[in-house]
Symmetry: C2
Subunit: 213 residues, 2 copies
Amino acid sequence: MAHAPRPSKRTETRQEIERLILSAAEKVFANAGFKGATMQLIADAAGLPKANLHYYFTTKEDLYRRVVQDIFEIWLHAADSFDTAPDAATAIGAYIDAKMEISRRHPDGSKVWATEVMHGAPVIQDYLESTLRDWTDGRIKVIRNWIDTGQIAPIDPRHLLYMVWATTQHYADFGHQIETLNAGQPLSDADWHTAKAAIKSIILRGIGAAGSA
Amino acid sequence: MAHAPRPSKRTETRQEIERLILSAAEKVFANAGFKGATMQLIADAAGLPKANLHYYFTTKEDLYRRVVQDIFEIWLHAADSFDTAPDAATAIGAYIDAKMEISRRHPDGSKVWATEVMHGAPVIQDYLESTLRDWTDGRIKVIRNWIDTGQIAPIDPRHLLYMVWATTQHYADFGHQIETLNAGQPLSDADWHTAKAAIKSIILRGIGAAGSA
DNA sequence: ACACAACCTGACCAATCGGTCAAGAAAATT
DNA sequence: AATTTTCTTGACCGATTGGTCAGGTTGTGT
């Protein structure tokens, strides 16, 4: 059954440990920032001695860079619906759903990204200027096409994108504030459903995507 | 003319210096986070020797707490339009304008607030649970009233508020990303006007506040 | 003019942190 | 079984940082 050159037990556990460290690092970076996160805290969260972390990731910056890059990948693929959906309303609705699901499942990743950007993107500036810029330009063209074919009202595509990003990521980045305002309770399944519905309702109606009722 | 007990030269300069330090601290905290901000960096930004900072603010945490509290004050008063405006569309439009203006004029403050909340609000948790919760509940009642009187569609007031917060603050917190996607240029007057118009257009139309055309 | 309080600051210290290293343990290869 | 490679880890180090303090300067009230 296993035709691919089976990975040796070594490479297998190596990847497992790397994932373990990356997961612990994501959590600690999200909750303490780059400077506030110490290698010792990450090591404790991963259940490994500190020196072992430096065997897999030579420096703290290396580890951080990997965390941010992994988030960026997840982030990019959330908008595949833009190319596959049959119409604007479906595409944007699916995009909002996907981004909300990311905010729910990967809140720590979102926080790390937010902090990185807020601090001037010291380690991923090149990604912003190349990949993200190209990606954004591409989606703007798609939105322009929706406007030209009368599927949505003539709003500024750029600010529509920003609004979707801001609103969906808010539920991850400001999750603590939202939880506090929710009587200290995490959002329930129903709460998340209500949030998604409210956001899609306002935005889709707001851009005149009638096909969403 | 000066009837009020004139402040001595001492208290005058004292307040000036405190403001100078607070301003420098806000900038450094915003760009480096709490841990990343060093008292030396803040001192340099303020043009004062480090030991002098400790004369006015005993600890780094004291200084940070003051910065966050000051931001919170500005933030709260941005929604006065909720009580004074004649109708929902005017009120929400004015609130969006006010919050966008804050994002433009006080981006550093917004970033400090965002980081504080993302890290679990270690120093302002009590504000979230008291002042912010009461404030939010009050505004939700106002929005409910707008719904009951048919001024806007029956959307969830809470998520409408979150959307306004998220979208407007995005222009401060993610200003660097927006600038990068804007060919590396800061938003011009015209850009800010376009952004405000797009946001108000989508949200007001999205909640069925017809009186905004 | 004098005395007292408020303010300023260079030098210093203890604590913390990222990173190193040497000495071994475990696994793969021969 | 021997040998080489990969992995593990406690102990350690230099650099940085928040905070202190003693001694001096400036302003205020009498």
